[in-house]
Subunit: 77 residues, 2 copies
């Protein structure tokens, strides 16, 4: 099974959402990517349609923007 | 186990997110509430902190606003 990918940037909103998502779908079913620590994956996230973090990209490629922590411009800045 | 509750109002963004959430966490783990058809549950959703739909309220009471379909004002209007 292709995993979902949860992109975040370490903000409080992100951490809270990360806990919720892991609780809901199970940590084995989601890859957690911290964009502030893995800057080389910012382009990958943007290519998938991530506009802000936290965001969950589902196995079928849909992007679920969950609440609002920071824009991708903030993440890159 | 307490179920999550997914509130929506039938908008295209809502329907897409509903499919994703059911796929991710399983339909037996989430109650789907269509606020445009169940207006009597709007107050319940607002009391839980739902500001817009679609939104998922987790078993521990956190509100995850997923993308943006409509504000609660639109739902009530």
């Amino acid at each position: 099974m292709i995993k979902s990918v949860f992109y975040h940037a370490g903000c409080p909103v992100c951490v809270s959402a990360e806990h919720d998502i892991i609780s809901l779908i199970g940590k084995d079913n989601v890859e957690i990517v911290h964009l502030a620590e893995e800057k080389n994956r910012v382009a990958e996230a943007e290519a998938k349609g991530v506009k802000s973090v936290p965001a969950l990209v589902t196995p079928n490629g849909n992007v679920l923007h969950i609440n609002f922590g920071a824009s991708m411009a903030d993440v890159k800045g």
